[in-house]
């Protein structure tokens, strides 16, 4: 079982030459091995610890949460060379966040043990953890999990790795793509998790990308940052920013680094892969039944358009109306007015649901779709923003009223 693909392929912004490889994963690109095991961190008995590693020297791009109380793995990650990472060890079921000095020692031990098991430099091994905040690791369980995962590393391990990083996700979100470059085709694999505590800059999420492309570390870092802006920073499930957000891209190609037009094309391809993953997170948002693209046009600036889109997308009234398939545009105008506090209100305000007016007879059919657009036009300038958001459902409340108890 993996998460169904995004139906609205026009949302992805894929460049020519990018193609999904059916059944692909993070171990589809050449030279990557992975594993995912169940060691007992999750009460369910599901897989809860995974390792992904390049078998060859690699470079990396890394983006981390900007939450001011980061998880301990983020504290550790900030001490590492972001361009020199070849592997990641990650667990679910416990975020190892707000656990202080002991938690930092635990995540260091986690990285060291995984690196030692694979014969690697610990400074090339990133750590990540996702799950409940504020609980100490059971380190005996973690140690056993790492040893199991190290022993199980294989070139077929990508799907198990994708399972091991999930928490409240309905299904793993994983895939692989080929991308044609003038210098030849490269392969990009991706595994991501994220369902709640999701909001832009960054969404609460883990996303690990493997590729056999050859890049200079500084180019990969720029491409990773650019891809984040066009994908994970453009989604919101619940407006909440996690202390654990991590995007790691590992590139292990050994030929001449791609440059110029190929580098630009790789960046567009990486952005499309990340957007594909980001929209999957929205579709798999906790309790979500709909993924809606909010398209705000005609704002004074892109920044203002973004503020308007987020005010709409994070409004529990709008999100409940999307759930209820209710074209309640008054709540959208209310959110727009709240976003524009301190400025003159817009002289023009129009909106549509996949091109249909709120009072159109067919708007109910649009709102029954899993994926659709809500477009808002303000008519006061060239500013534009796209934001993908989920709806607020009874299942969201159930999940989050009962999550730790």
């Amino acid at each position: 079982l993996t998460f169904p693909p995004v139906g609205r392929t026009d949302w992805i912004g894929a460049p020519d030459g990018l193609a999904l490889l059916p059944g692909g994963s993070v171990t589809t690109p050449d030279g990557f091995v992975a594993s995912g095991v169940a060691c007992g961190l999750k009460e369910s008995g599901n897989r809860d610890l995974g390792i992904l590693a390049s078998m060859r020297p690699a470079v990396s791009g890394l983006v981390l949460t900007i939450n001011a109380i980061p998880a301990e793995a983020i504290v550790r990650a900030k001490t590492l060379d972001p361009g020199g990472l070849c592997a990641i060890v990650v667990n679910s079921g416990n975020a190892n966040a707000a656990t202080g000095a002991q938690g930092l020692a635990d995540t260091n031990e986690m990285g060291q043990r995984a690196a030692a098991g694979l014969g690697m430099d610990p400074a090339a091994m990133l750590t990540a953890s996702t799950g409940v905040i504020g609980r100490r690791f059971q380190m005996d369980v973690v140690r056993r999990g790492i040893d199991l995962a190290v022993a199980g590393m294989s070139a077929d391990g990508g799907p198990h790795f994708a399972e091991a990083i999930c928490t409240t996700d309905r299904a793993p979100k994983a895939g692989a793509f080929t991308l044609e470059l003038s210098s030849g085709a490269v392969t990009i694999g991706v595994a991501s998790k994220g369902a709640g505590m999701i909001r832009p800059t960054m969404a609460t999420m883990l996303c690990f990308v493997s590729t056999d492309a050859s890049l200079r570390a500084e180019d990969l870092q720029r491409a990773t940052a650019s891809a984040t802006q066009g994908s994970f920073n453009r989604i919101s499930v619940d407006g909440q920013m996690s202390p654990s957000d991590t995007l790691l891209v590992i590139a292990n190609g050994q030929g001449s680094p791609i440059l110029g037009d190929d580098l630009a094309r790789f960046t567009r391809g990486l952005t499309a892969v990340c957007r594909w993953s980001a929209i999957q997170m929205v579709l798999d948002g906790e309790g979500a039944e709909h993924a809606v693209r909010l398209v705000v046009e005609g704002a004074t600036t892109d920044t203002e358009a973004d503020r308007v889109a987020r005010a709409i997308g994070d409004s529990p009234l709008v999100k409940s109306a999307i759930y209820g398939r209710d074209a309640n545009w008054g709540r959208i105008s209310q959110a727009v007015g709240q976003a524009l506090i301190g400025s003159e209100g817009p002289t023009e305000f129009s909106l549509s649901f996949d091109g249909r007016a709120a009072d159109d007879a067919d708007v109910g059919a649009v709102m029954a779709l899993t994926e659709y657009d809500i477009a808002v036009t303000l008519g006061r300038g060239p500013g534009r923003s796209d934001l993908w958001v989920s709806d607020l459902t009874h299942a969201y409340v159930s999940l989050n009223a009962d999550y730790t108890t």
Copy 2:
């Protein structure tokens, strides 16, 4: 039926000499008449149009929403002398918002017709509307309602007026208080509505206060603004700011205006009355089962404390945990970290539930209370903020998924 009083009377901050008058309403102060009628704006057949008026010359204090797309009644209100209002005509069932020039003409007609019926200057008659946004008034229904309400004005009409302004409120929120001043006792009556689209500056709400105190208009305006800061700007149900928020205080005392210490005491009394109303709105928040006071201390500044409190109070994850009676403090630390983005994280972070730690055996009993405190201490300065918030429940989602359909 009226809404039950606030149990945590220590939350009110009442000055000495303020006492609740059982069964009181906006017509309890001398010289006020009111009515509330059912004219057909609500499908339920409940009362949906009301008028409150002073029978004597009066002065007023007025605070309006800062939403940049205000309702048409707010557009009209901004053209009036805020100190010269003696009466209000208000309807529920239709917000007359985002209705443009026709909506503005409709609210003007509403004010003129009510004023003519009472033999008053239309410039002294405020209008207000609450309900669904984006629908034109049925003016024939409104006209009939105004005529009925004018015909029914009486000194016993306060309770009917309080009913007529409700939308999704579970019950009217109304009362009256006496306040001892050195110059003698004054009476303050209040009727308020608000259950959803509630957030500080201002909450989505209507609140109408009548008093037989004698004040200068400029002093009453200052007292009204100060009372708003200490009450309606300190609550949040869903973080959404309405385009219709209105607080009107009418004072019709005919003696010497109160000044000096009495004015300060009146301001404290008015603030306490408004806070009483504000906390009732939180208790009556859409679907709410809990009203929680978030007390943030030890922030760098009061402004930072306020930002932290709002990040916690508007987090759907925290709000769901309050509903689920789950002392999930990791979600609180996550929200704090999100609020403090761009600054150093706090070196100290502790929290308690009515004084009990999150892992205290009795914390479940605290979280079963309708009203309790969550205190967060950051240890980085003298900044402090109080914010009253409701929880996020299945009933909230049900109400807002189905509200207009």
